[in-house]
Symmetry: C2
Subunit: 462 residues, 2 copies
């Protein structure tokens, strides 16, 4: 007799934690550090705050198999009533909105809390305060894995003695520091490359490194935006209609709820699609919704998605980051104009570094980023690697072995990640096309630089 | 002001459906067919039934962008009260037990139902009956995506007019048949290879193919098993203790709830680990549980995991399947003895086919399977491909181009899938080692065969 049952989200990710990157003590330590650091950076830069982050990794016992990770940030903090949910309820967070962020799933930190709980039986410690509050508060939490609810072991609330806002998180997991060390240090180093306005202190058993910011210029934070008509489906229409006034006209619904749809565009669309612009949205049938969804997809006169939901670095800041970390002799960067795929806006930025302290290799070194997250795994199936390997570098005067590094950065409200562990990116034709244009443009600029160097040497010899 | 909120599991997978393989109409059609076919095969062979499956794919409108998929099987059927949950509640199913199956997540068919709902506004149709029941029942269902609950649009129940058991499922999704066709046909063809005891009829707009079974011998179905001590963590101990009698002695707890732990082994473990075998499990503290979990992991005198939870094909059946599909001149197969990783038992089976109708290529053709699921994507990062490319085939008398194909099959209670879309498999040292042994053994047998052929020709010439 088959036994049928359901799982809560926390039970599901407890049983399948390797899917989120928590497969063994080496990978889990790396992933836990990532989840904490990515949250602290989101909590600062998305809100116009220059990040000040201190990340400490220390063994918590003599056997060196239990590691304590502690992070402090000067971010916006977390409201006292929300702390238990954001740290101990799977599928809960503040990033379910259309705005570029490292966080997407409302899952990351919960995986770290879960892993700590099941390997060391220790609760997560959180201290936080938001700017508008007079109090600061400390929690110790477990997850009730069966119910997907927080268990508050401890809560201390007190008046703030000095003005501060931010979050401190500490947890202890089974981890393998010696084997995970290189990747974690590289991850932090690359984070410093893509966020040159951030000051990050990394304290480990062996060393204390400070990546001091090289720029006080923060990229314009992204804004929460609306969906683009190209990205609709029947469920999205239902969701938007439910949250709107059922007596609203279709015309006003389109202009109010969708990105880049003005009154004129909406009228033309209704005419083309065969809809009455005055039709009350509450009276659209399921068949109407299916037709509306299909027509919105097919209509090709929508304006491009607005990039206000994105926050590219810009070429100046990207060059700063590359100079600080790679110390090249020559660097060039490009931040492409906004593009989109399936209604999701995206921007490609790339940089090319040559010479100086860039290591010599048989093939260009590649540093990949997505929404400012360094991607360190699965390079061989990444679309950027595919493009770089397809280029004939002789055309650009590059003979291998050569000291050349390429940085690729994709910004989007929806990065096409292949999994919740955020490592590999799926191939999307529009993204591939933009990456190709950007990489080849930086290659052309390198060629011009190398030609100038050649000419200088010829002049010298004469 | 940040807005914090939670998502239900169905909302989460609606928003992130590309993670489950539903990224576009081509890939979604492939994935939907997979989910249905894998469920029908689980419902038959896991329960000792020779599968009879009819799979129909037909365009449902003139534009050819809406595809209806209909599947019929002679499996165990689904109890009437369970149908709404198994088809319309994410994280619900009968495969959350320790037993080899294609299904793992309790998510697959719900993704197909969801995709149909949001692209064509059509409910899923299910007709089923279980052997012990006198009735058969038909449902039409939607998913309430906000609540993760089924919406029953229609239910018809009637007395069965003839004795039958099984399930019929029909759904209509936005799909691109011309672009998805090749992969789907290849998927079914390879399924027929790994399941030569199954009769599968594939009816498409262009053709009707019947893969008639070439064997009535069904592999021994797998049994539900117990966890192995090497695979524990603190949460698992808590879960098992909660379901047991709190007054139970630790000794009895170990022998009753864990795989391959006899009284003698349990006593030796308790002595080594510093536990009193008579300690009542209900009185173990959290610190005790942490120590117990760690010690169970480290103890190296546990018996190997029992393979009764697995169901390998065996070399005879694997050869039958390869012969039927690849029609080689020479084929050899090997089914390795059971092994394990992290407490999860697994068995590696491989086959090598040469000549005949095997296509000639510059590198061995590779057909990968995991728990009898054909894996068609991400070959370049698969561990099997890595092993095959690392072999010097000259040693085995193979000069490329050559007509050589290799089949790899991993059976386990936990396939280390990288994602919920079940395509790529993570690298696990124990699995890699076993694959290497198996592939090289079949290569040696090929060499013997090619040497014999060489000698025959030499004899002929004299
Ligand atoms: N250091 C922090 N400062 C402020 N808010 C935080 C911090 N860490 C976590 N949060 C809040 O907790 C929520 C949940 O974090 P979590 O990492 O689980 O999910 P996420 O970041 O939204 O998405 P993802 O799963 O992709 O990481 C965040 O959305 C954010 O609102
Ligand atoms: N054709 C079928 N015959 C019998 N039972 C079925 C059939 N299809 C689905 N089921 C039942 O519905 C449940 C849910 O199926 P679903 O595909 O969502 O999850 P799963 O197969 O358990 O795991 P996975 O998400 O990995 O596919 C199954 O566990 C099984 O009990
Ligand atoms: Mg996060
Ligand atoms: Mg399934």
């Amino acid at each position: 007799m088959e036994s049928y049952k359901g799982l809560s989200p926390s039970q599901f990710f407890y049983r399948n934690r390797e899917i989120a990157g928590f497969s063994n003590p080496v990978r889990s330590l790396y992933q836990a550090v990532r989840e904490l650091l990515e949250n602290s950076l989101d909590a600062t830069e998305t809100h116009g705050i220059l990040p000040e982050i201190k990340l400490e990794i220390k063994p918590s016992n003599n056997q060196n198999d239990k590691i304590t990770i502690r992070i402090e940030d000067n971010g916006i903090g977390i409201p006292i009533t929300e702390v238990p949910n954001v740290f101990a309820r799977v599928f809960y967070g503040s990033k379910y909105v259309l705005r570029q962020a490292r966080g997407v799933f409302g899952l990351g930190v919960k995986m770290a809390v879960l892993y700590a709980q099941i390997t060391t039986a220790t609760p997560i410690y959180v201290k936080s305060s938001i700017e508008s509050s007079e109090t600061e508060y400390e929690y110790r939490l477990f997850i009730d894995i069966e119910k997907n609810l927080p268990i508050v072991l401890e809560l201390n609330v007190r008046k703030k003695r000095k003005k501060w806002h931010g979050t401190i998180v500490e947890l202890t997991i089974q981890g393998n520091w010696p084997l995970a060390r290189r990747r974690i240090e590289e991850y932090v180093r690359r984070t410093a490359l893509i966020a040159p306005y951030a000051t990050i202190r990394l304290i480990t058993p062996e060393s204390s490194i400070e990546y001091k910011r090289v720029s006080r210029k923060l990229p314009e934070p992204p804004q929460v935006g609306k969906y683009h008509p190209k990205g609709v489906d029947i469920e999205l229409l239902k969701i938007l209609i439910r949250s709107a006034d059922r007596k609203m006209r279709l015309l006003d619904f389109l202009t109010k709820y969708f990105d880049g749809v003005g009154k004129k565009t909406a009228l033309n669309f209704c005419q083309w699609a065969g809809f009455n612009p005055d039709h009350k949205i509450g009276r659209l049938t399921l068949t109407d919704l299916e037709k509306l969804s299909n027509k919105m997809h097919v209509y090709n006169k929508w304006r491009r998605p607005k990039p206000l939901t994105l926050s590219p670095l810009g070429d100046t800041l990207l060059k700063e980051g590359v100079k600080r970390i790679l110390e090249p002799e020559f660097v060039t960067a490009i931040s492409r104009p906004p593009s989109s795929y399936g209604g999701n806006p995206f921007i490609i930025e790339t940089a090319l570094a040559w010479g100086g302290k860039v290591p010599v290799s048989d093939t260009p070194m590649l540093l990949r980023f997505a929404n400012r997250i360094p991607l360190l795994y699965d390079e061989s199936v990444d679309v950027s690697r595919k493009i770089i390997d397809a280029i004939d570098w002789n055309v650009y005067k590059v003979k291998f072995p050569a000291p050349i590094a390429i940085v690729t950065h994709i910004c989007s409200t929806k990065i096409p990640f292949k999994g919740v562990g955020k490592e590999a990116i799926a191939e999307v034709p529009e993204v591939e096309k933009e990456l190709n244009i950007a990489i080849r443009e930086t290659a052309r600029r390198l060629r011009r630089h190398l030609s100038r160097i050649e000419k200088m040497y010829e002049i010298k010899r004469k």
